[in-house]
């Protein structure tokens, strides 16, 4: 029983850690994408996203 409980706990722990990693990585990709579209200071990037930044009220200029 103890062993089995221990295994279950370990499995649950792994799953929680795996969930945390998956959620963190997905959110990080979101931050990188939005950083490029809405916040990049590169001039060409600013010009390409200009209308999207104004329309979505990202700070621009």
């Amino acid at each position: 029983m103890t062993t089995r409980n221990g295994q279950n706990l370990a499995a649950a722990h792994d799953s929680l850690a795996a969930r945390a990693v998956a959620i963190t990585f997905a959110a990080l990709i979101g931050v990188v994408v939005l950083g490029g579209v809405g916040f990049s200071h590169v001039s060409a990037m600013h010009n390409a996203t200009h209308d999207v930044r104004h329309a979505n009220a990202f700070p621009c200029h």
Binding site: A26, I29, N47, D51, V52, N56, P59, H61
Partner: protein, 243 residues
């Protein structure tokens, strides 16, 4: 399907769907107002600095905005198809990015179960990324005076993060103290205040700006409601039964 792939697929599909609708709405509403504002910006740039022919176009704000001219040497899209195509592309990417944040955050709370839940999360996204930053930094048109860019970006990101944390504490906090902390987090950035320009004078007519703010916030409301609703509808269909 692993959780990571589930989040990625739900966010990609919701982002593409919402981005296409959002881009169409922007191209019909906000973008024409941006183009109209640029005619005022160009009129200022073309006119001699101290001419009195058109007093309205030569306010302090008008001269200040000359410093905000785009870098002429950098690449810029041609007006028309190229420019609007990029608006479509980047609105889809904006949808994807925001969807990743929305779906990832909702997974911490156990994952979206249906489109109703998704709409509630979408409304939270609207509050976090449009209402809260918009209180200090309302949508603005080209040629309008504004505070330091980096300072405004930092305030925008900080306000969105604090509002998201505050809403999470309000919704999921299990004690009145946590709820109060949530309220404090939401109010704090507004008390600190967004970086503002030295002068608000501008050649942009107030009615044009008013229409732009209304259009931008309205499109954002549709964007976030659709993004949340789509993500909530997709998530149970793409997640593995075990998850």
């Amino acid at each position: 399907m692993s959780l990571f792939r589930t989040i990625l697929f739900v966010a990609a599909l919701a982002g593409i769907g919402t981005g296409l609708v959002g881009a169409a709405l922007h191209l019909l509403t906000t973008v024409p107002l941006i183009l109209k504002a640029e005619t005022f910006e160009q009129a200022e740039a073309a006119a001699p600095a101290h001419s009195h022919a058109d007093a309205a176009a030569h306010t302090a704000g008008a001269q200040e905005s000359a410093a905000h001219e785009h870098d002429d040497e950098a690449w810029a899209p041609a007006d028309g198809l190229e420019r609007n195509g990029l608006t479509l592309l980047f609105t889809v990417l904006t949808g994807f990015g925001f969807a990743l944040l929305l779906v990832a955050a909702s997974e911490i709370a156990g994952g979206l179960q249906n489109w109703h839940q998704g709409v509630i999360w979408g409304l939270a996204g609207f509050a976090v990324f449009t209402l809260a930053p918009g209180l200090g930094l309302p949508p603005e048109l080209p040629a309008m005076p504004a505070g330091d860019l980096a300072a405004r970006q930092i305030w925008w990101v900080g306000t969105a993060a604090a509002t998201a944390g505050g809403l999470a504490l309000l919704a999921f906090g299990r004690s009145p103290l946590l709820a109060l902390t949530g309220v404090a987090l939401i109010v704090a950035p507004q008390l600190i205040g967004a970086p503002q320009p030295e002068s608000f004078e501008t050649a942009i007519p107030e009615a044009l700006h008013h229409n732009f703010v209304v259009a931008s916030v309205a499109v954002s409301f549709v964007f976030w409601t659709l993004l949340g609703g789509l993500a909530g509808w997709l998530r149970p269909r793409l997640a593995a039964p075990a998850a």
